[in-house]
Structure formats: structure tokens, C-alpha cells
Amino acid sequence: MLERKSHLFLLFVTISVLFWGLMFAHAVYRQRADEVLFQQKRALVGWLGLTDLCLFTDARYTRNPSMADMNTPFQDYPLSFEHFPSGSLLSLPPHLRAHAEDR
């Protein structure tokens, strides 16, 4: 059965495709299984009136990007540069750009 190299390659592709199928099945399973967790997190967000995910805790404008200002990263002192690493990972929330244009 596997005496030819082409068979080995086809076997590799078949096994990989099977794993891909498992990957999609796992994703669907986890989405359904985590439904309760999403409900709990939503309830907590509603109860506390939270506005952001807790992804970064080093700078206040990356802890709560939706509550920040365009100038927050640079306001520590005149001519200050934005220096927190997380600041370079996040781009500007779109509504801040809109507010800046309104001014």
C-alpha cells in the first residue's frame, strides 16, 4: 500500500485534512461549551458597567482603550514619548479619531 512515495504524500495530506476536521469540530464544540462562560462574563460586565477587556495592566490607556484620549500616552510631561510596550500593540480606537476631528 505504502510502497510508493506518492502514497506516503497522499497519506500525509489525508491525515492532515483529518486533523483539520478535528480542529474545526473542536472549535465548534468549545464555542458551545463556553456559552455559559460568556453569559457569566456578560453578566459581570453588565453588573459592574465595565467597558474593556483586561488585556494589559501596565498603562491606563491600554487597560481601558475605549476610555482613553488620543493624547493620553504623551501627556506625562511636555514632549514626552509613549513608552509602554503595550501602547505599540494597540492602534487608536476609531471613536477617538472621530472626537479629535470634531474639535
Binding site: V17, A27, Q40, T51, L53, R63, N71, Q75, L89, H99
Partner: protein, 377 residues
């Protein structure tokens, strides 16, 4: 059936040919797989974060009103609520008290949030699991908070917020209003910002415009804007994503360029011999097509699978140091896998297809000239 057998023969020959140069080809597959793995990891991570934010933050306040002074977020007088409450369509206005606390003991930042329900529990707090982990504490432990005047306020940990919600609550400290005002010396009659509920969500922008008209020093933020924030900050054009994508793109260009600029003398001689023993130009092109497919498809299939394991089973361990940055307190979260077929298809067409094409083109040039001149070259 005959066609299938012919292709199987060509694949046999292609694999033997690739195996003759195994050192070069195995390292090519390793690098190629790593590029796909990196791009797919970023794609899985950012898409799942965006999806999680959209699902979880759906119950965030409909509108927040902040006060700005000299471009900075300032405390808002609670009396603003009276005027805002009179605007037609506003159902309720509530003050929100929250702020950041830097713990000099471990260098971590906490987010302190006041809840009305905790007003009777002065002297105690509920903390996020990230706070408990960073302070190595459990229920009934005591946390000293340094107040504005340098004194210490010791608060007892009443309970710890379950770790399942760490992605929204890792750094939270739920505290009573009295203790919060005592730590930060926030006078009565002031809040951090205001939250609004409206009767009809279609009127949100009109109400926001009215608020800025009455109080020009305020800035309303709508829930839709919050939801769009995570869509935008983890967009492919921003921050981390663009850096990784650019690196991967240039690495891929080098790989494809190496293939497209020409064949090695050994590869040219091989094509010449094949032509001399009777292979048609189309057969040579089919062989090169399969060579491109074997390398790029194998790398693609492996790279995407490894990226899935990396992001959803290993909690994006490779990105951890970049995501942690200078954070002392970092949430330990497990992302729910959300895969978009469109993203995977885009990755396929941007990697497998160009690589295969760039393998065929120089071979076509070599296959169309006379075999003896190719062999002599």
C-alpha cells in the same frame, strides 16, 4: 484512471527529486511552516479576541459621559446628572466611581471599581483572581492600600472573583464608596464619569449631541464605539498584527524570490535530461507544479494546525512576553476558538498559490529551450 496514475508517477518522481536535495528542502519546509504558523497564530488570536469582546461587552453601559479638562479626563460633578436626566429620552443616569491603584508592594496596577451593593461592606473588598495571584492571597486575607495622605487602609478580602471571567476581571478590586473616597480623597459630589441608559437606542447620538451642547467640557462615549474599539485595535493594519504580517510577508518574498529568479545548475540539468529522454514541456511543468504543491501545501497544513495548538492549547505562549509588556499583573485566560474560513482561504491564496506559481515560471523558461543547451549550461 490513466491520468491519475500519470500524476502519481509524477509525484513519485518529484518526491524522489526533492529527497535528493533533502537538506535544502527540509529547511525550506521548516521556514515556510514557521511563517504560516506565525501569521495564522496572529490571525487566530486577534479574531478570537475581537469575537470575545463583541460577545462579552454587549452589556456595557449604553453611554458614558466623561469630563475633560485641559485634554485630560477629570472628575465629573454629580450635579451634571440633573441636567442630563432632564434630556428627553434619557431613562437613567448613574455616577460611576472607578480608578487605578498602583501597588508599591509588587508594582502591579489594579482597577478599583465601586459598587452600590458594597456600601454596607466598608472595610472589605472582592478581588479579581489576577490580584489574588499576584499578592499570593486567598479569602479573608488583608490588603493594605496606601491612601492619598500616605496612611494605610487595610481592607479584608471578602471573596475572589472566579478565574473563568479573568479576561474582564483579573485586575479588579470591588470596593465600597467610602473606602474608595478615603484612598483617593475624592470629594463628595464628584464621580469618575456618568453612565446613561436611554429609552430608544436610535436616539443615542442625538442625546450625546445634546449633552455636549449643554456641557461643552464633556465627552460622551457610546457602547457601539466601545464594541468597534476592539474590532479596530486588533485589525490587521494595527500594532502587533502589522509588525508580524510585514515580517512574514518579507520572509515569504525572499522564499518566492529565490524560486522565481532561477533554477540551480543541478535543477536545470535535471530538466534537460528529462527532456532528452522524452518528457514533454507540459510534463516538466506538471512535475514543478507538484514540487510547489508538496512544499507549500505541506507547510500550510502543518503551519495552521500548529498555530491552532499554539493559540488555543498553549495560550499563545510565544506572544506572552510581547503581550505582558511591563504588566506585573497579567490575566491568565483561555480563548474560545473562533475560526473564520475566509481568513484561512486568504492565507492559502497569499502563500500556497504564489509559491507554486513562482516554482513553475523559471522551470517553464528552462523547459522550453533545447535539452542539449540546458545540459551544457
Amino acid at each position: 484512471m490513466q491520468l491519475l496514475e500519470k500524476h502519481k508517477n509524477i509525484i513519485d518522481f518529484t518526491l524522489s527529486s526533492l529527497w535528493r536535495r533533502k537538506g535544502k528542502n527540509i529547511s525550506l519546509i521548516v521556514v515556510y511552516t514557521f511563517i504560516i504558523f506565525l501569521v495564522a497564530s496572529v490571525m487566530f488570536f486577534t479574531h478570537s479576541i475581537r469575537k470575545e469582546a463583541a460577545l462579552v461587552l454587549r452589556d456595557a453601559p449604553e453611554m458614558m459621559v466623561q469630563r475633560l479638562v485641559a485634554g485630560r479626563h477629570e472628575l465629573i460633578p454629580v450635579r451634571y446628572m440633573d441636567e442630563i436626566g432632564k434630556i428627553r429620552g434619557v431613562q437613567s443616569v448613574k455616577p460611576r466611581l472607578w480608578g487605578y491603584y498602583y501597588d508599591p508592594a509588587n508594582g502591579a496596577n489594579y482597577t478599583l471599581v465601586v459598587k452600590d451593593e458594597l456600601k454596607d461592606s466598608v472595610g472589605s473588598v472582592r478581588v479579581g483572581s489576577g490580584v489574588a495571584r499576584s499578592l499570593l492571597i486567598s479569602e479573608n486575607a488583608a490588603i493594605p492600600f496606601k491612601t492619598h495622605d500616605g496612611a494605610y487602609l487595610v481592607l479584608k478580602v471578602k471573596s475572589i472573583i472566579p478565574s473563568e471571567s479573568e479576561l474582564v476581571s483579573a485586575d479588579l478590586v470591588l470596593i465600597s464608596e467610602g473606602d474608595f473616597r478615603r484612598i483617593f480623597a475624592i470629594p463628595d459630589g464628584y464621580a469618575t464619569d456618568l453612565t446613561l441608559n436611554v429609552r430608544n437606542s436610535k436616539e443615542l447620538t442625538t442625546i450625546a449631541a445634546k449633552i455636549t451642547q449643554i456641557f461643552p467640557d464633556t465627552r460622551p462615549i457610546l457602547r457601539d464605539e466601545i464594541l468597534r474599539t476592539y474590532d479596530a485595535v486588533f485589525n490587521w493594519r494595527g500594532g502587533l498584527v502589522i509588525v508580524v504580517l510585514s515580517c512574514a510577508f518579507f520572509a515569504f518574498i525572499i522564499l518566492a524570490w529565490d524560486k522565481a529568479t532561477g533554477l540551480s545548475a543541478e535543477e536545470k540539468r535535471e530538466i534537460g535530461i528529462l527532456k532528452a529522454i522524452g518528457w514533454e514541456t507540459s510534463d516538466v511543468l506538471q512535475m514543478k507544479f507538484w514540487e510547489g504543491v508538496v512544499v507549500s501545501l505541506s507547510s500550510f497544513l502543518l503551519g495552521v494546525l500548529l498555530a491552532y495548538l499554539h493559540v488555543f492549547f498553549a495560550s499563545s505562549a510565544l506572544f506572552e512576553s510581547a503581550l505582558k509588556g511591563w504588566s506585573v499583573l497579567y490575566p491568565e485566560f483561555r480563548l474560545t476558538p473562533f475560526i473564520q474560513a475566509y481568513h484561512i482561504a486568504t492565507l492559502f491564496f497569499l502563500t500556497v498559490v504564489p509559491y507554486t506559481v513562482s516554482t513553475i515560471v523559471p522551470s517553464w523558461r528552462a523547459a522550453t529551450i533545447e535539452p542539449d543547451s540546458v545540459m551544457r549550461a
